[in-house]
């Protein structure tokens, strides 16, 4: 840890587990993901820590290349094993995900943990009806008869509010509209009662009037089923609609974390502040938008120090020395910025 004065918060709080008495459902510690080829190494995720309680929605917010999807995929071990170096630890419901063998991994995926993707057309199998695909998942994890699995599939389509569900069971993915396809994928993800749902930009490809329907549906199902959820998005508005907590990623690190209202109303990190300012939302038409200058760093050549420093308007010499350690202004309210000590801690007094 850094020698800066930080408020008295126990080590347990800093580890992020001291919220009520719940055991964490997910514990990710010092996660590092590198993609190695003969020519180069891409440092996609660089020491990520977070935890999710049962029934909680954590939004990982970041732009393309920030490592948010890679983090999610690492949790399901979906990354190509030969080219990927994963370090650190991922525990889901007490299981060490990185140590699981192939069979145990098969049980985990779709059983304890489910994932939904941005593009349902590529995530669903085009040559099977959605009824068959959902029933197959149920049979694989829960056993029982085909008829029972099909009945469960029908139940699930009704749960996700697909109109005329009985007829839709025998539809192929291409016969459904984008919104219905996304609902079908959610139905499949929920088929075995997962305790953790991983959602990778599931509403990004949808139209506005459909996106809000799917968001409201996901929010309701998540609450009713008590699923812990990690929701990856680049859209601040979507995060505001669904998140309990937000973790902001930049260049493979979580640079800020906290309850959704705190992060959106009083962002601590200059990157989060810049992201909010540059998101067009009712700005005056007379003035330019306060854009963040420059572009994100090259993950093949990450310099020492804060990765945001080259684009930061508040940069100081200290920023280039080393990536600032997490600093807490309150339990669960973190930012990795050297300015936290002076500004926010004074305000917290």
């Amino acid at each position: 840890m850094n020698a800066e004065p930080i408020p008295a918060i126990s080590a347990q709080q800093i580890a992020g587990t001291a919220f009520g008495h719940d055991e964490a459902l997910v514990e990710v510690r010092d996660l590092t993901v590198r993609f190695v080829t003969r020519e180069t190494t891409v440092h996609a995720v660089n020491g990520v820590n977070f935890s999710v309680r049962p029934g909680e929605v954590l939004c990982i917010l970041g732009e393309s290349g920030s490592g948010k999807s890679v983090t999610l995929r690492a949790m399901m071990r979906l990354l190509p094993p030969r080219r990927t170096r994963i370090e650190g630890s991922i525990a889901i419901d007490g299981q060490d995900v990185l140590a699981l063998d192939k069979r145990a991994l098969g049980e985990l995926r779709g059983g304890l943990v489910s994932m939904i993707f941005q593009e349902p057309m590529t995530a669903l199998d085009p040559v099977y009806t959605i009824g068959t695909q959902i029933a197959e998942t149920v049979l694989r994890h829960k056993g029982g008869s085909r008829a029972a699995a099909r009945a469960r599939a029908l139940e699930l389509l009704e749960l996700v509010k697909i109109p005329e569900a009985a007829r839709r069971l025998d539809n192929y993915p291409h016969e459904l509209s984008g919104g219905l396809r996304q609902r079908a994928m959610i139905a499949m993800a929920l088929s075995c009662g997962p305790r953790l749902l991983l959602a990778d930009e599931p509403t990004t490809a949808l139209d506005a009037t459909v996106q809000i329907q799917v968001l409201i549906l996901l929010r309701r199902l998540q609450r009713e089923l008590g699923m812990g959820t990690i929701f990856v998005t680049h859209d601040l508005g979507v995060a505001a609609e669904i998140a309990d907590r937000i973790a902001v990623m930049y260049a493979g690190r979580i640079v800020e974390e906290g309850p959704v209202a705190d992060v959106l109303r009083a962002p601590l990190h200059p990157y989060t502040q810049g992201l909010l300012a540059s998101t067009v939302h009712g700005q005056s038409r007379e003035r330019d938008i306060e854009a963040i200058p420059g572009s994100p760093p090259d993950l093949r050549r990450l310099a020492a120090g804060c990765a945001f420093a080259p684009r930061c308007g508040l940069v100081q010499s200290e920023c280039h020395a080393a990536m600032p350690e997490p600093r807490y202004t309150a339990a669960g309210r973190m930012a990795r910025c050297v300015r936290i000590t002076q500004a926010a801690l004074a305000a917290a007094e």
Binding site: D207, A208, A240, T279, H281, I289, A291, I292
Partner: protein, 343 residues
Amino acid sequence: MSATADQRDIGGPAQPLLIARNLAKHFAARGASKSARVRAVDDVSFTLFKGETLGIVGESGCGKSTLARLLLHLIQRDSGELIFDGEPVGAPRGITVAALRRNVQMVFQDSYSSLNPRMPVQDSVAFGPFVHGRRKSEARRAARDMLVKVGLNPDLFGPRYPHELSGGQKQRVNIARALAIEPRMVILDEAVSALDKSVEAQVLNLLRALKQQFNLTYLFISHDLNVVRYISDRVLVMYLGRVVELGPSEAIFIQPLHPYTRALLGSQPSMDPAHRIEQPPVTGDPPSPIDPPSGCRFHPRCPFAEPVCAQRSPELGAWRERDSHVAACHMLDPASGHSKAMQ
């Protein structure tokens, strides 16, 4: 620069730069029955004034991209009329398609696939002026100037290939290429939609600055209502190939008239976790533009639909002047017979 723009101006500032009258484009639907037609653009009329930014919003399948392609003659219209600065496009005594394209350029959403991957970007930018008759050396010089104007150092970025640039940089190149032949109007078809928010803001600022500098008129197509509100003077809302509402930007966003526009605005995430949207404003997906619903195309999803909505197609009210705010809804027409119609 503005002096040359004035020279090209034929009808004076009051004459609209582009008038579209009753444009229609139907496609044969693949796989469906023989008579099935995709009514991508159906009876669309609007006026684009000199120096303004007209935003076009709508969901996928509403025909906004087809409309853009019709305006540039990238696809042929089935019927309707296009008038560029007083001259009918493609008509015997009007302006030729080639001349139209010298005046109107387009920037697409996918910044990578719209650049030639085997060509250094400076050559891509120089290609337009060269094809339109400038000498090679002159075209190169114009390309370098234009790269500077979009914020790219031509010595550093000019010799690079598209894959060596970031998404934002590639889109800057596309903008430079569009402007290299000094057009009067630019169609931006979801030009910032694929960019990250921080980069999107940079490109929006750039577009606003260039519009000033080169005296441009923009047609800005996007699904992002916040961006459209920020950049547009007037907004046109499309639904399933039809114009449902047209008016000044602030009027549309503060006082939307059409139930669809209201639903679209109400579907925007709140940005405030304390005031989340609890009920979706409309249910269901937009229907397919193949054989769209009868009458008002929004009626199957409209909370105010009555029998008249399925029977007759509402007219887009009388559009008189620049600031007219009109919408195609039976509730706005006292003679329609709709019970909620304004008397």
